[in-house]
């Protein structure tokens, strides 16, 4: 009796363990089922290479390119800001800061990560956007640049926490060897610690980028939401995520527009999937 119970418990726990795999597959299947339905009536070429997103014009145009480029511009901008900042912060926390300062900084980074994206978007809209408007003399402050700055600070906590783990995982003897050869602490960081933690750093950057691409509410509130081909950082753009969030409420279930939004979701899922897989490979390599 007891043995049967144990076996049943084990099976039940295994089932729970596999739930994550099931969910990932389910998410993919649902997105694919609804998203690929678009291509029964709309050509994939016009979807992927179309430069116009006009879902309610006649005939409707579902070109994803302006949205994809919108996401790309905002993400690149955010990456340029957040990667140096995040790396510097991680190095400072992991290597240089005394214990009390480290605790304060870590708590601060955790708090930054905890602020809901809608609040960051709201504050960005109310304070950052007017500044951007004033500084660059623009008709509106809701631009790709404002989005990049906002998103940079949302990516920083991810980059810091993963890179800091990588730094702390560098064996102490590496540093001691370098000190013994007469190197300064900074030389040791540059020539020993950073190279030794490189896999984890790459993973940290990848996951930070993944965070930025997937961010929805803040980016919707602060980038101005104009579905046009972006040609400058100082104009409104619209990202893929914002398009789904903004239009799904109005799309009729089962319509071409509805399927098109799921197709965007599928594209997003594939992009983040690839990013996460790559990051995971780097993290796994580091563990070995």
């Amino acid at each position: 009796m007891k043995r049967i119970w144990e076996a049943a418990v084990e099976k039940f726990i295994l089932l729970n363990g596999l739930a994550c795999v099931v969910f990932v597959i389910l998410i993919f299947l649902f997105l694919a089922k609804e998203g690929l339905a678009l291509f029964k009536t709309f050509s994939p070429l016009n979807f992927f290479a179309g430069t116009q997103w006009y879902p309610i014009s006649e005939p409707p145009k579902y070109g994803i390119l302006p949205l994809f480029l919108g996401s790309l511009v905002v993400t690149l901008g955010a990456t340029v800001i957040s990667v140096p900042l995040g790396m510097a912060c991680a190095l400072f926390i992991g290597e240089i800061a005394p214990r009390w300062m480290r605790e304060i900084l870590k708590a601060g980074v955790e708090l930054l990560a905890a602020i809901p994206s809608i609040v960051i978007g709201f504050i960005g809209m109310m304070t950052l956007a007017p500044w951007v408007k004033q500084i660059f003399h623009l008709p509106t402050g809701l631009t790709a640049l404002s989005g990049s700055i906002t998103l940079a600070f949302m990516a920083v906590p991810t980059i810091v926490s993963i890179m800091e783990d990588a730094i702390t995982a560098v064996p102490k003897i590496y540093r001691e060897g370098s000190f013994a050869l007469g190197a300064t602490h900074w030389q040791t960081i540059r020539r020993v610690v950073i190279p030794a933690a490189s896999s984890g750093t790459v993973a940290a950057i990848m996951l930070g980028i993944g965070r930025v691409i997937g961010e929805t509410m803040a980016v919707m509130m602060i980038t101005g939401n104009a579905a046009v081909m972006p040609n400058t950082l100082l104009a409104p753009v619209r990202t893929m995520t914002a398009t789904i969030a903004a239009e799904m409420g109005e799309a009729v279930q089962g319509s071409e527009h509805y399927f098109a939004l799921f197709a965007i979701g599928l594209v997003l899922f594939v992009i983040t999937f690839l990013i996460n897989m790559t990051a995971d490979i780097f993290l796994h390599r580091e563990k070995k």
Partner: protein
């Protein structure tokens, strides 16, 4: 003049230090702005009454209640599922391809954009399972979203319980599951709780997953069952700041402040639990 290695180091550390504190600037800025502009909006009436005049006046009570319901629903689903998944990974899984697949799935689940969870939740729970836009559908969607947080934290908590604890119990003839139940779990409880609370605070603040699965634009009455729609704080803030024209900024900032206070409070609880547990830890 050539820089000596020592001076170089001073300059480098200074720059890194500045960058590190730059990261804290937005945290303080956001807290300061919210306090300065939102604190005087908050009073008993704001917290306990319904919105009036097309949400331009009155309180945010239904949104607070909605968020609490959603969080409770989310935890009820996500905690058992996440905990058992973590138990599987730590106690039962062998280091084979199946385990690796579960790990990869967790990593990917953690990286799925929140709006994609919204799409998925709408497709599966609202439409396919015919739950409609409801607290149930919203909670299930949020639960899948925070699953990786709970699993990762629980897994870490379980694996820090020393192996000797298990060995002693097994040597006494106790079965594997009973060992887990009576020896491993009590010792990992604090870590599991911390992870769960952090997951909950994430669920409380998310907007995109509840957009199409539960959130009501304006619903002055409280939900009666888990099949009803409800308002929620993050979505309410979104509505107030982008969908309704000419809302008094006081109400917007007040709503944002309540949301942030709620999220920070849950985080604080997690930090306190973690700290107390660390202090008490015997091994």
């Amino acid at each position: 003049m050539k820089l000596t290695a020592e001076n170089r180091e001073k300059i480098a550390f200074f720059v890194l230090g500045i960058a590190a504190f730059l990261v804290l600037v937005p945290v303080f800025l956001i807290l300061f702005i919210l306090m300065a502009k939102g604190a005087h909006a908050i009073n008993w009436e704001f917290l306990t009454t319904k919105p009036r005049l097309g949400m331009k006046a009155g309180g945010i009570f239904p949104a607070i209640v909605g968020t609490v319901y959603l969080v409770l629903g989310t935890v009820t689903v996500a905690l058992p599922l996440g905990l058992f998944a973590a138990i599987y990974l730590v106690e039962y899984a062998k280091g084979n391809w199946l385990t690796r697949m579960v790990e990869v799935a967790i990593v990917n689940l953690a990286g799925v954009p929140s709006v994609v969870y919204g799409l998925f939740g709408m497709g599966l729970f609202v439409i396919f399972m015919k739950l409609g836009a409801s607290i149930l559908a919203g909670s299930l969607t949020l639960a899948i979203m925070i699953l990786p947080v709970i699993i990762t934290a629980s897994r870490e908590a379980l694996s820090t319980v020393p192996k000797s604890f298990r060995e002693v119990s097994l040597a006494l003839g106790v079965s594997k599951w009973q060992t887990i139940r009576h020896v491993v779990l009590p010792n990992a409880l604090a870590g599991i709780l911390t992870g769960t609370i952090l997951g909950v605070s994430r669920a409380a603040g998310e907007t995109a997953p509840i957009l199409f699965t539960v959130a009501a634009f304006y619903l002055p009455k409280l939900p009666k069952s888990i099949f009803d729609q409800c308002m929620a704080l993050p979505y309410h803030l979104y509505v107030l700041s982008t969908q309704v024209p000419n809302v008094n900024p006081k109400i917007q900032y007040g709503t944002a402040l309540v949301l942030v206070a709620l999220v920070f409070f849950t985080n604080l609880v997690a930090i306190v639990i973690r700290a107390r547990f660390r202090a008490r830890k015997q091994w």
